[in-house]
């Protein structure tokens, strides 16, 4: 135990003395969470810039204008009076949605001739596209409903009769877990899990490669320390720091970003501990096998985006090509993101999350076992024969 704490102590010294590593371990997680939290803070799209091209200028067209103007989601942009101006404004990104009310709308409507109002929206960004489509339907539904009520009242029906007709089939549409369809609830914690994954992996995966580059790894190998002591001593500080970061980021997310984090605390802790074990031991294994720190840095950071999109967190696995979704299923991030969402957003218990925990336990065991196979007498991985100008050590100040 004493040997483990000593190794851990020197590892902590390394972290404190290397300014970039210190930033990666302690500051970058907070900085990223703050940044992404600020980006997704609103969580909802409102004040959607919209133009209304009214070619009719009738009472009816003004009613349509009012229906959109009264909606909390749309912000009517003035000075767009023609279809061409609407096209230009949409192309320039000044508006994201538009309504074109045709000439003679009122006249045709009163004569029961077919006439239609065109509503357009910007599909070049799908977050705009899908949200505007939904808000449009809401406004149109409300407008049509009011129109029907007015029409029936004009036919001499009483308010009770009208109500029974209009609400004959009343659909109560409820969105569970995320009632306002808030993007912060949806995306933010997925990004937090990715931050923990990548920064955790990056920091721990330099632990052995750094020793190799400083030619001090042979001291570990030639010492009386057992393999387990080396692994535990090297991994312990990162395991503690990663779990500290996990709890800290959850606290920041709940306290300041107001992300919905519900569910059992014990389950959240279990998921966090398993995720931490997987990251820490996988990172150590990578460090053991990599040629140098530069190779690790380059490869790990480049994987962030593919890992996020493979995880099924946004685009579901069922919609992917099967070998690709299978690839996503062997990634710990995919299971953690899914499990965390089920616990904190859906408020589910062990019965529903049990399978995910089991998968993560297996992954954690695998991560530990592959490290135990490390043999002190094994020939270390060699540096590439020729590192040329991308070698990992540049004592710049000495030469300049």
């Amino acid at each position: 135990m004493r040997s483990i704490t000593k190794i851990a102590y020197y590892e902590v010294l390394h972290i404190l003395k290397d300014p970039i590593l210190f930033v990666v371990v302690f500051l970058a997680p907070i900085a990223y969470v703050t940044l992404f939290g600020a980006v997704y803070f609103s969580g909802l799209l409102s004040n959607i810039p919209m133009a209304i091209v009214d070619l009719d200028h009738s009472e009816l067209s003004r009613e349509i204008e009012n229906a959109y103007a009264n909606s909390p989601y749309f912000n009517i942009v003035e000075d767009v009076d023609t279809y061409e101006e609407l096209q230009t404004a949409m192309q320039m990104g000044e508006i994201r949605s538009g309504v074109v009310i045709p000439e003679d709308l009122q006249k045709n409507t009163s004569l029961h001739r077919h006439t239609e109002v065109l509503t357009v929206y910007d599909g070049s960004n799908l977050i705009w596209g899908y949200n505007i489509q939904k808000k449009n339907i809401e406004v149109i539904k409300q407008f049509n409903s009011e129109n029907t009520v007015a029409y029936l009242a004009g036919k001499g029906l009483s308010s009770v009769e009208i109500s029974s007709i209009v609400n004959a089939v009343d659909f109560n549409i409820t969105v569970w877990y995320n009632p306002n369809i808030n993007y912060t609830y949806f995306l933010f914690m997925g990004l937090v899990m990715m931050i923990l994954h990548q920064l955790g992996l990056l920091s721990v995966s330099l632990t052995v490669s750094r020793e190799k580059e400083r030619h001090s790894w042979s001291q570990y190998l030639s010492s009386v320390l057992s393999v387990q002591q080396i692994i535990m001593g090297k991994c312990l500080p990162y395991f503690i720091i990663n779990f500290f970061n996990y709890t800290l980021l959850l606290w920041i997310s709940a306290q300041f970003i107001h992300v919905k984090i519900e569910g059992g605390v014990l389950l959240i802790i279990i998921l966090g501990l398993l995720y931490d074990i997987i990251i820490t031991f996988t990172g150590f294994f990578i460090s053991l096998k990599a040629y140098n720190s530069l190779q690790i840095t380059r490869c790990l950071l480049l994987l962030s985006i593919p890992l996020f999109f493979l995880s099924g967190y946004t685009w579901p696995w069922a919609y992917m090509y099967e070998p690709i979704s299978s690839l996503g299923k062997i990634m710990p991030y995919s299971w953690m993101a899914k499990g965390f969402r089920m616990v904190t957003l859906k408020n589910l218990g062990i019965a529903e999350v049990g399978v995910i925990i089991l998968v993560m336990v297996l992954m954690a065991l695998a991560a530990i076992i592959i490290n135990v196979t490390f043999n002190k007498t094994q020939k270390p991985v060699q540096e590439t024969p020729l590192s040329v100008n991308a070698g990992n050590s540049y004592p710049r100040k000495r030469h300049v």
Binding site: E138, V166, F171, T297, A390, R396
Partner: protein, 380 residues
Amino acid sequence: MRKYFLIMKRECLYIWRDRTLRNIIIFGPILGILLFAYVYRMQVIQDIPTAIVDLDHSSQSCELREDLEAAQNLKVTDYPADYSDMETMIENGDIVVGIVIPEGYGKNITLKRQTRILAVIDGSNITFATPASSAIMEVTQTISAETGIKILVGMGMTLDEAQNAYQSIEFRQEAWYNPTLNYAYFLILALALNIWQQCCTLTAAVNVIGEIGMSSWLQIKASGISKLALFGSKSIVHLTIFMLLVLPVYFLAFVVFKLPLHCNFGLLLLFTFVFSIAIHSIGTMMSSLTNNAVDSSRLGMMVALPSFVLCGYTWPLEAMPAVIQKAAWILPQTWFFQGYNFMVFKGAEFNMLSYYFVAMLIIALVCYGISIIAVSWLER
């Protein structure tokens, strides 16, 4: 001239011999686009898994089920026996939409009494929840109107009059630039370009430190090669490589996967080239401010990684706080991905994007300027 050529040849050799970097830059962007193409192979959200709990089992509820089955974008996959079964299915993520037809539905319709149907949507994944919500609203609007018309006809109104009550004005919705709201069109190339820009950052991150940190730097200085000649020649090689790397990505995107391209391809290439200069300048700046290539790569990637979230390509800039919106425009990625969206989807021309070009060049000048100052300061 020969001197510049030899420096360029040396740089090509160095990059080629750096096995990790070579593999990353050659295979990274191509693997990226292939991967994302297969991730988004379904392209659009349709067939949203739906379950209907029919507690009535009347002819009217059967009719309603048929209407729901015919709804666009919904795919009825299950008919759970009761509410709790449906609840479990939503919890497990087996379905996204659950509809409960209550007992006495048919009787209430016949007696013209109000009846309430529950439609539940799983909001935990917005990729599904938003289109599901729109699909449900559309189908319920139609069903409500059909029921209302039947009641009005039953009350003695003519069919035309009854229909007029519900269809006085028809609203037609059109999505411009991406009419089917296709995720593949929106994301595949943008994500692949994001991988490409990260590869470019990694390459540029050894530009300065890869020379002045090496013992050979003294030889280079002794040989009388100016820093401008050295780093200028190296940068030309880097920029050429960046453009050679992006060409197969564009080929796969526009020729193989047939993603939309509404602008002039030459203009898109020019825009990409200016962006690659800006990215190269950031990598060069990082490589002149740090003490080794590892730190330089780390710093470069720490900027490159969050840039895709910050650039407003997915979550709109307009929805971000004002401070973040302004800060985002400091990054060349914001100019590039916003401009890329305008070009690829909206067919923007040079006059519309001229200040995007200028902005990226200014960023490049600032970053190269900082690099020159940093190197000169260290050389004192």
